[in-house]
């Protein structure tokens, strides 16, 4: 891997940018690997990277049915934060937030991680009680978190409407200053490039269509590019997790839902924090290019179509316009959807499965982007050691049998 630097930029500029290296190779699959990762989203690529870096396993293939980052990784609203309520979740997301701090230099790829701060608004007395409870829980877990009054919110975001006469008046907010955004497709490319440099084969346009078993263990995958043998298999396919579980012969507590987002025309800088509101199901930030990047809640129905209903978009847009009346006449230039894998307790499933040799990382739902580095790190640990790390042990599939759920739903301003 040739390192990116100011020097390489100047040199390639002089050559009219005609000599840049391929960012990753484009190999044909080998017949056999030590580890096959299914799904070339951020989580799959990060897993391959940490397997190589931390566990010295390099005979790895990442199989992606489309192109890397083309799933939820490249479709999200880029929000990064760690202010979750329950200890288990807070520790996992905080671990990930710590990895974000040096990730650009570690991967030698500018992820544009910007600590612009994340506000979670409260609109009712109950919202404010929940928010202060979460702020206190965060602080006890060593996570930066502050409680803001209406005036303090206004001070931070002068364009926000804090009039008491609105349908959802702003009574206050939590602020996590280390929260912010990072460039999402850069995350896929950065992890992909760094994994490739360790010798990981990234194989795009390769869909897994079957999982072969012998004596109760997974031994390989049938793909659109032929059969590939594998000593271990890691599944990180987000919305398609149930489809893969069906191939392996077990059931999952997952529902796949469309989740939509959009960007507007670029405007001058007006918003330098991320503003989220759980009760009205809207979240918005302004990108470095000036576009407003905003997202909605999930469509209620199960959907694999990477698009949802207009009524859901309209609901989120009208909430955002009520919060920010000056946005009312800005134009939307692009709108899209991803398909997210939701669980009953809004927490991921990361660990072993009923099939030996097959490991599962899914259930991140509407909020797994922020966890990409941490998720890859603990999943790599789990695959390499055949046992979960302390951080992901509570997130086992068994919790749906033992009843030890980690109920982040509603409790923790959980969306996204």
């Amino acid at each position: 891997m040739k390192r990116y630097s100011l020097f390489s930029l100047v040199r390639n500029g002089i050559n009219h940018h005609s000599n840049w290296d391929r960012v990753w190779r484009n190999p044909n699959p080998r017949p056999e690997y030590d580890v096959v990762i299914i799904g070339g989203g951020g989580h799959g690529l990060a897993t391959a990277y940490y397997l190589a870096k931390e566990h010295k396993i390099t005979k790895i293939a990442v199989l992606e049915k489309g192109y890397i980052g083309g799933g939820n990784t490249g479709r999200n609203t880029e929000i990064v934060r760690s202010n979750y309520l329950w200890d288990e979740a807070a520790q996992l997301y905080e671990f990930s937030l710590k990895l974000w701090q040096n990730l650009s230099s570690e991967l030698n790829f500018n992820l544009m991680y910007s600590k612009k701060g994340v506000l979670n608004l409260g609109h009712s007395l109950q919202d404010m009680r929940d928010i202060s409870r979460r702020v206190n829980a965060n602080r006890l877990n060593g996570i930066d978190s502050e409680l803001l009054s209406t005036e303090e919110v206004k001070g931070l975001v002068p364009i926000i409407n804090t009039s008491p006469d609105t349908r959802y008046p702003i009574l206050g907010a939590s602020l996590q200053k280390r929260g912010g955004t990072a460039r999402h497709d850069g995350v896929a490319w950065g992890f992909g490039r760094a994994a490739d440099a360790f010798g990981v084969d990234i194989i795009q346009g390769c869909e897994v269509v079957g999982i072969r078993q012998e004596d109760g263990s997974a031994v390989g995958v049938d793909t659109t590019k032929g059969y590939i043998k594998a000593k271990k298999i890691g599944v990180a396919v987000a919305g398609h997790s149930t489809v893969l579980a069906n191939m392996a012969g077990f059931r999952l507590p997952i529902e796949t839902h469309p989740l939509q987002a959009w960007v507007t025309d670029p405007i001058k800088p007006v918003l330098d924090v991320v503003v989220m509101s759980n009760s009205v199901h809207a979240y918005v930030s302004q990108t470095d290019r000036g576009e407003l990047l905003a997202g909605a809640g999930i469509d209620a129905y199960v959907g694999y179509g990477q698009r949802g209903s207009f009524s859901v978009l309209e609901h989120a847009a009208s909430s955002i316009i009520e919060l920010f009346p000056i946005f009312s006449r800005i134009r939307v230039v692009r709108q899209w959807g991803g398909i997210v894998d939701t669980t009953p307790d809004a927490c991921p499933i990361i660990g072993k499965t009923p099939l030996k040799g097959l490991f599962l990382n899914c259930g991140w739902g509407t909020g797994g982007y922020k966890a990409t580095p941490g998720s890859g790190w603990v999943f790599a640990y789990t695959i390499a050691n055949d046992t979960p790390h302390n951080l992901n042990e509570p997130f086992s599939l068994e919790r749906f049998i033992t009843g030890k759920l980690i109920d982040e739903h509603g409790a923790a301003g959980v969306a996204h």
Binding site: T242, Y301, V302, G305
Partner: protein
């Protein structure tokens, strides 16, 4: 926006309805006596089919009745709607 054919009221906008998830899940007859595994299966595990899916909807801003819909989860096309009990829970989708 989907147009949904309520078996009682006819075609209406999706925004009149609430989604009820997978249809035809049979509640265990004797919950006290079944294993944790079977209880978990009933409570949490879902078919979440990519393709033809049997699901339940509630016409909450209309007749307020539950019904079943057979819907394609990639194209979102609704092929059929049925009154509850009209079709047999063992059916394939």
């Amino acid at each position: 926006m989907l147009m949904i054919d309520c078996p009682w009221c006819g075609n209406r906008d999706e925004s009149e309805f609430m989604y009820g998830g997978e249809g035809n899940i049979v509640r265990p007859q004797d919950p006290e006596s079944i294993s944790d595994d079977s209880w978990s299966d009933y409570l949490f595990m879902r078919k979440n089919t990519k393709g033809l899916y049997m699901e339940q909807w509630l016409h909450s801003y209309g007749c307020r009745r539950w019904f079943l819909a057979e819907r394609e989860t990639v194209s979102y096309e609704i092929l059929n709607t049925h009154k509850i009990g009209e079709i047999n829970p063992e059916s394939k989708s």
